[in-house]
């Protein structure tokens, strides 16, 4: 039995006006186990805290009950208080006799009676409290960033700036991501490459940052502060150390028919290739599916022309093990291929393109060197129709239920750029809603309409048909209440944005939860938007949901600051009120593992002595650093092996008993 001290706070008149605090102290003083009970004006004041400390020393208290305001207010304060008097900080229970008693009741006798019951319940609970210690785990001072787009780069740069090592793992041969493919950015219309390529160079040049390009994260184990990752370095068949990026090999390669991914497949590249001139690292990569040497053993032209001797056809896949304190997911997005929209002829006409393809068609580094041409004819289009919300905001099976968020703005940008370069080209945008919340966004859209004369029509295109030398677009104009039949030379589809397909696998290996659309879930939608529910895993950019570049960059920096918060600690202290499993009771049934939102429970074979019998059993083990202490597992566990420290079943039942007594 504990030696319990009870401290009843007046909170000035807040409590004392309705609750007879002296009577409460007197009644609670008679409870079994209570060796000291008193009341005081302000328990949270310095003198109040000293009163508690003195009583702990004078009476040798092993447990403390404070009847005062909500524990949400001063639990931390009083834990420190009793801790400074040498008592374990978790040997404290608070009876909330202010918010849940004195403030809501008027009748003094009634409120006093209730306060006594609440105090009794706290005493019953503290009887069963056990000293708890926050677990300390060391922190590996390096972060892993999965994805080398603008989100990943910004996160990595910010973490590196704070002095910590960062590894970027990028599955493509170069970092830069989608932003490197964009032509201009809204709402300022500055050149995307001009702002992203310096970032790429900075990233590569930063000595704290290691880039694993053309590599994938194969596996991640461990927990916050102590992750272990296996990185698979895919073979480039080119020695990245030796390659100078001169590009001579790419001019000689006879296999020239591979689609150029960087240009969205709008033109071709050679089997040995450098994605684009500003690629980082600026190293050639051999596409094994196209390389004649790798497929047939004959050719070897690139090896012959390479002066640096960098070509290595024997290169093998390599697995690299690295340790990290935190992981940032920046896996980005893809634009869907609207192949299911047969009504828009995407598959049938080369002049129907997605907006990302259109970016490449407009880009100076693109297949047409920035000259706007109809892909089918190479002629300047006379009329371009832009269709919004293709695949977004729908509930049918081919649709994404969410708004892709950036389409309204980039479509305004596209139309504006077209009108700016070629004022004679007509631009018509079919929209459902124009959504432009953002700084200078609506002004930007209005400029497209007012200054550049882009036609905005509310209504959707029903179908696009191949006409005679043009595309026939049939649409409704909802405001004019008429059906339109337009002729266009190009149709640009604002196709929906979806998470990169690699995200699902990464989510699973990190036990980071995802929503039904495969976007990563945040720990709290409002208050913890850059953290995954899994401790130590952070979210950066589009992997969490559609967003534009400034939002991506701010989330990237926010994620970085969260990572820095983790890495700057030598040790992590964890909440000790967490689940633990009694191996003698555990059945090994795995049900708890299934309900754990954090992946904190694993199973291992342990030697167990139960009822005098020694045997090896498969039992649940809670990782104390990962467990957040919700208790979902405790109810799932039929045998009661799983319990929650600080809110143990017997403690809660003791409270129930005391209340119902």
């Amino acid at each position: 039995m504990q030696k319990i001290g009870v401290f009843v706070c007046w909170c000035g008149s807040n409590i004392a006006a309705t609750v007879d605090v002296a009577a409460v102290a007197e009644a609670l003083g008679k409870q079994p186990g209570v060796v000291y009970a008193t009341d005081y004006q302000y328990m949270c004041s310095a003198s109040g805290q000293n009163l508690i400390k003195d009583a702990i020393r004078d009476y040798g208290l092993t447990g403390v009950v404070i009847c005062a305001c909500s524990p949400r207010m001063h639990e931390a304060t009083f834990r420190k208080t009793i801790s400074s008097a040498g008592l374990n900080p978790y040997m404290l229970e608070i009876a909330n006799i202010r918010e849940q008693c004195s403030w809501i009741h008027k009748d003094r006798e009634e409120a006093t009676k209730k306060a006594i019951t609440m105090g009794t319940a706290a005493i019953a609970k503290v009887q069963l409290n056990t000293p708890l210690t926050q677990m300390k785990s060391p922190v590996t001072k390096r972060a892993l960033v999965i994805g080398g787009g603008i989100a990943g780069m910004q996160t990595a740069l910010d973490i590196a700036d704070a002095g910590f090592e960062v590894d970027i793992v990028e599955k493509k041969p170069t970092i830069g991501g989608k932003m490197a493919q964009l032509d201009k950015t809204f709402p300022t219309l500055d050149c995307s490459s001009c702002i992203v390529t310096p970032k790429m160079v900075d990233t590569a040049a930063n000595e704290k940052i290691t880039i694993f390009s053309y590599a994938e994260v194969e596996n991640v184990t461990g927990f916050i502060g102590n992750f272990k990752a296996t990185i698979k370095q895919k073979p480039r068949y080119v020695d990245a150390e030796k390659c100078t990026g001169c590009g001579l090999c790419t001019t000689k390669c006879p296999s020239k028919k591979s689609l150029n991914e960087f240009n969205m497949g709008l033109n071709t590249r050679t089997a040995i290739y450098i994605p684009f001139a500003q690629a980082v690292p600026l190293v050639a990569t051999i596409d094994p599916d196209a390389c004649i040497k790798l497929k047939t053993g004959k050719c070897g032209l690139c090896e012959k022309v390479c002066e640096a001797g960098a070509i290595d056809y024997a290169q093998k896949e390599e697995l690299i093990e690295r340790e990290y304190g935190a992981v940032v997911v920046a896996t980005g997005y893809n634009q869907i291929k609207p192949v299911q929209y047969e009504e828009y002829l995407y598959n049938q006409s080369r002049d129907v393109v997605t907006s990302l393809e259109f970016e490449r068609l407009m880009s100076a580094s693109g297949p047409t060197a920035g000259h706007l041409q109809c892909p089918s004819t190479g002629k300047l289009p006379r009329h371009i129709v832009f269709i919004q919300c293709v695949g977004s905001r729908g509930t049918a099976c081919r649709e994404k239920p969410y708004c892709s968020k950036v389409c309204c703005m980039y479509t305004a940008k596209h139309a504006m750029l077209v009108k700016d370069h070629y004022p004679e080209v007509e631009c018509t945008v079919f929209y459902i809603d124009v959504r432009t919340p953002g700084k200078n966004f609506d002004e930007f859209y209005r400029r497209a309409v007012e200054q550049y004369g882009v036609h905005y029509i509310k209504g959707m295109v029903g179908k696009v048909e191949q006409g005679d030398g043009c595309l026939k677009v049939q649409a409704s104009d909802l405001l004019d209440n008429r059906q339109l039949h337009l002729e266009a030379d190009m149709v640009v589809l604002a196709a929906a944005i979806e998470p990169d397909p690699s995200a699902r696998k990464i989510g699973t290996m990190l036990t980071a939860s995802m929503d039904t659309n495969d976007f990563f879930s945040e720990a709290h939608a409002k208050l913890r938007p850059v953290e995954s529910p899994t401790a130590g895993v952070f979210l950066s950019g589009m992997c969490q949901g559609p967003k534009d570049i400034p939002e991506t960059v701010s989330q990237a920096s926010a994620a970085a600051s969260k990572v820095i918060g983790v890495l700057s600690k030598d040790f992590l202290l964890s909440n000790p009120c967490i689940a633990h499993s009694d191996p003698t009771l555990c059945n090994g049934c795995s049900q708890c593992q299934n309900v754990c939102a954090y992946g904190a429970i694993s199973y291992e074979d342990q030697m167990v002595v139960d009822k005098g019998v020694r045997e090896t059993r498969r039992v649940a083990v809670v990782n104390e650093a990962i467990c957040q202490g919700c208790g979902a597992c405790t109810v799932t566990c039929p045998s009661g092996a799983m319990d929650l420290k600080g809110f143990a079943s017997n403690q809660i039942m003791a409270e129930v008993d005391a209340i119902c007594n």
Partner: protein, 327 residues
């Protein structure tokens, strides 16, 4: 049934001879025709294995402990309904299928001796299957009854002749005999639901007040595989050896049903073994019915390694208030 047994014995000999297994969980004849005992056999006494209409006990739970310790695999003879429990135990890692050779055997429906006795037939000396009827020799003369009237509760709502797990089938499921479905699974539950709360309360009180807390339901249940049950664990705060009053009678059965909710395959062992014939399966079936209605049709053990309804959720799940608003 006799042909099946002959075929079965032949198959068991084959498996022993091939060195696949070195022991088998089967059934052994008792003192009377009906008191068949589940037992473990080895190469020496295979031919004592019995398989007839009284081999009702679901043996899958035995494998939790029984599969340990052999040199070779243990042979388990699983009736179609037993395979559901078998799957569920695999899902919960309570048995290791690597240590077991599961042979699916056909079933023509198992007889409940209590139902024969409830017909007023006593002094039973011998029972013979006679087409659709049973011929019963007693101390007081010969009696007969329809087999369909005295089948075990689980057989009245047979899950079908298909085995959902196992390494081999004695005969292909398509060729196996079928137990005709004699009742709707939820009829009894619906009857209770249709009563007024007061009637339901009195009905359950009269049933549960019979409970002598012998734990037979729990110990026979293939879902109750806890190494130490909360009701046996003095530190759980709810342990008790007997029900000292109506509250404890209620609590034991509510919590037991809750602990197996979503995991119970509706094998009916609880009711079969209850010495007081309390229809405990009606508690489990209520949970099954609710789960089916609220969260979609679910049959525990239909396949291994799926997440049960209480360890999964959807964002659109019904609210608990549905209990207040329906019917």
């Amino acid at each position: 049934m006799r042909d099946i047994r002959e075929k079965l014995l032949k198959k068991i000999h084959e498996l022993f001879d091939a060195g696949v297994v070195d022991r088998v969980v089967g059934w052994k004849a008792g003192e009377f025709c009906y008191d068949v005992t589940p037992a473990l056999f080895n190469a020496g006494n295979i031919d004592e294995i019995l398989y007839d209409a009284f081999c009702g006990p679901n043996q899958s739970k035995f494998l939790v402990k029984g599969a340990e310790g052999g040199e070779k695999k243990i042979l388990a003879l699983l009736k179609p309904c037993d395979t559901y429990s078998y799957n569920q135990l695999i899902t919960e890692h309570r048995i290791d299928p690597e240590k077991i050779y599961a042979l699916g055997i056909p079933c023509t429906g198992m007889v409940d001796i209590n139902k024969i006795r409830a017909l007023g037939i006593s002094g039973i000396l011998g029972i013979e299957e006679d087409g659709e009827n049973l011929k019963i020799e007693t101390l007081y003369g010969t009696e007969s009854c329809k087999k369909a009237d005295v089948l075990l509760e689980r057989c009245l709502v047979c899950k079908g002749k298909n085995h959902v797990a196992g390494d081999e089938l004695l005969i292909p499921d398509e060729e196996a005999p079928e137990v005709p479905k004699c009742a709707e699974r939820m009829t009894e539950v619906e009857k209770l639901e249709a009563m007024s709360p007061e009637e339901r309360f009195n009905w359950w009180r009269s049933q549960l007040s019979k409970c002598i807390r012998c734990n037979a339901c729990r110990n026979a249940c293939p879902a109750c595989t806890c190494r130490t049950c909360v009701f046996d664990n003095p530190s759980s705060g709810v342990s008790a050896k007997v029900n000292t009053n109506d509250f404890e009678e209620n609590m034991f059965h509510i919590i037991r049903a809750f602990h197996v909710a979503g995991r119970c395959t509706d094998c009916g062992e609880c009711s079969r073994v209850c010495p007081q014939n309390i229809p405990l399966h009606l508690l489990n079936r209520k949970f099954i019915k609710d789960i089916d209605e609220f969260y979609g049709e679910y049959q525990a053990g239909a396949e291994p390694n799926v997440r049960g309804p209480l360890i999964s959720y959807t964002e659109q799940d019904v609210e608990p208030s549905i209990v207040m608003t329906r019917g």
